[in-house]
């Protein structure tokens, strides 16, 4: 099935720590940094562990349930390119078991059906430059 893109947004511009996150995404794998010394997970990627300051880094797959931590539904587009796409949502998605959140979109639900705390599942959709974006669905599978 061909799916249209949720938003016509710019491709991720990733340097340094962020580049590896997106190189995993290009393989359609959502991975987060995990401290190689104390085991703390973190997002966004950073050069040192904020808990133990180690620079040993592992990239581990997102694990456990994802849920909707918070969100906004955008009605006023910030650019002409986004105007045909409102209302769209921006979701703050939490992987509670890892203690990390990422900014994304829930692509299958109407604004009125979004609920804080709802379970979400990861889906991939190609962005502007073909980079797969980690997006989410909340409806029944």
């Amino acid at each position: 099935m061909t799916m249209s893109r949720y938003l016509p947004t710019p491709a991720p511009l990733a340097t340094h720590d962020a580049a590896e996150f997106w190189s995993w995404c290009r393989r359609r794998e959502l991975r987060f940094q995990k401290c190689g010394a104390c085991g703390r997970h973190r997002h966004p990627p950073a050069p040192f562990c904020p808990r133990c300051q180690s620079d040993r880094i592992e990239w581990v797959p997102a694990a456990g349930d994802a849920h909707l931590f918070s969100y906004t539904v955008v009605h006023h587009a910030v650019s002409a390119a986004l105007r045909p796409y409102v209302p769209y949502n921006i979701a703050i998605v939490e992987y509670a078991a890892l203690g990390v959140r990422l900014v994304s979109n829930v692509i299958d639900l109407a604004p009125a059906d979004l609920r804080i705390g709802m379970k979400l599942r990861l889906v991939w959709q190609d962005g502007e430059d073909g980079t797969p974006l980690p997006l989410f669905e909340g409806g029944e599978a």
């Binding site: 938003l7 947004t9 710019p10 491709a11 991720p12 511009l13 990733a14 340097t15 962020a18 996150f21 997106w22 973190r42 997002h43 966004p44 931590f69 918070s70 969100y71 906004t72 539904v73 955008v74 009605h75 006023h76 910030v78 650019s79 986004l82 796409y85 209302p87 769209y88 921006i90 703050i92 990390v100 959140r101 990422l102 900014v103 994304s104 979109n105 604004p111 804080i116 962005g127 974006l133």
Partner: protein, 389 residues
């Protein structure tokens, strides 16, 4: 309230305030941000009874384009001994700039510091449109999160959800500030009365923010002159003490709305500021009950509620009821807020126009004067200051 004159000799105070006209975005076309910044500083120096050549320090925030060497050249300052730029997302560094100025004069690094902010959103960047933050290009822009309202709305949404805040309670903030603006001849929305019906019928910008929850985009500049009480004795009066001022750096300060949204959950729904509040009250030796009026950073109305809680004026989740019970209204409320109209209704000069209004309150010359006001809090989630008469 404050200690005696001898003890406070080396303590920082504000001795002058200056403002240009405030207009809607695009209202000022004949001059730019540098000219406005200079005009505000010149007016603040005149208000203090100082010669502009007495100014030997400059402080601003949010990457103000009027950099110190341009300002020194334009104003003809003989010697610039101190210049600082507070870090922080948007106006988050506003009251930190006052803290920097206070530290400079108290340490002797400078004698008279001008704190200023100048914005021409009609000529340059609009804050309601694209906005660069450090994680933006890699982690926010691809998902359509590209402006401050979009970045901050999820914090307000979570706050609203967790505490059952109702729209009519948030409306109370917008209505009170618009009412204050109606008495302020400088307010951009002085002649635009707002009703609850009009508020509730207004369009959504990004949930939960409605049109009237969002600050304006403006052109204008303002400035304050900071010196010590010792030096202020020779000036024309109206000195207002800076009892405490500081910047927030609690866990998650950088991972909130303008960051990655990984702020600890309990801070996320408060917007931050709770640790900063305790620190500043401790330094000033007062508590929230001693504050007569507050000027709270109203980029979005929900954050006024969150800051009322963070700064201890009511319990967690109680700010909606606090507003509904009339506490923030002028003149009858226990804590009149944003008495010039705030960012929602006077103008958005990135928090510094709220500081100017705080000084007016403690001089007794506000257009919505709080009777016998002795202590005023200036606050946002990332910086704050406590001023006293």
């Amino acid at each position: 309230m404050v200690s005696n004159a001898t003890a406070r000799g080396s303590q920082a105070c504000i001795v002058g305030i200056g403002e240009t006209e405030y207009t809607a975005r695009g209202g000022i076309r004949d001059r730019g941000e540098l000219a406005l910044a200079c005009e505000a500083v010149l007016k603040a120096a005149a208000d203090a009874g100082l010669s502009v050549s007495d100014i030997d320090g400059l402080a601003s925030f949010a990457n103000d384009a009027s950099v110190p060497w341009l300002m020194q050249e334009a104003l003809g300052l003989p010697e610039l001994r101190f210049a600082s730029m507070a870090w922080g997302g948007g106006g988050g560094g506003c009251y930190a700039a006052i803290a920097h100025a206070a530290s400079a004069v108290e340490s002797g690094a400078a004698s008279h510091v001008a704190v200023f902010r100048s914005l021409c959103q009609g000529q340059g960047r609009r804050y309601g449109q694209g906005y660069d933050v450090p994680h933006g290009p890699a982690f926010l822009d691809p998902f359509g999160m590209m402006s401050p309202p979009l970045m901050l709305a999820p914090l307000a949404q979570r706050y609203k959800h967790d505490y059952g805040v109702r729209d009519v309670q948030v409306a109370g903030v917008a209505l009170a500030f618009r009412d204050n603006a109606s008495r302020n001849p400088r307010a951009v929305f002085r002649d635009r009365p707002l009703t609850l019906d009009k508020y509730l019928e207004s369009r959504l910008i990004t949930e939960p923010f409605r049109l009237y929850d969002c600050c304006q985009e403006n052109d204008g500049a303002c400035a304050l002159i900071v010196t010590t009480h010792e030096r202020a004795r020779d000036l024309q009066g109206g000195a207002v003490s800076i009892l405490a001022a500081g910047q927030g750096a609690e866990p998650g300060w950088g991972s909130g709305g303008l960051g990655s949204h990984n702020m600890p959950a309990d801070d996320y729904r408060s917007g931050g500021g709770r640790h900063l509040a305790q620190r500043l009250y401790g330094k000033a030796g007062i508590g929230p009950g001693d504050v007569d009026t507050a000027q709270i950073y109203d980029h979005f109305a929900h954050f006024v509620l969150m800051n009322l809680e963070a700064f201890g004026f009511c319990g967690r989740g109680e700010a909606g009821g606090f507003v509904e019970d009339g506490h923030i209204a002028w003149p009858g409320g226990s804590l009149p807020l944003n008495t010039a109209g705030g960012h929602l209704s006077e103008a958005y000069i990135h928090g510094l126009n709220l500081a100017v209004e705080g000084v007016r309150q403690l001089r007794g010359v506000s257009t919505s004067q709080v009777k016998d006001a002795e202590v005023c809090l200036l606050a946002n989630s990332a910086s704050a200051a406590i001023l006293a008469r």
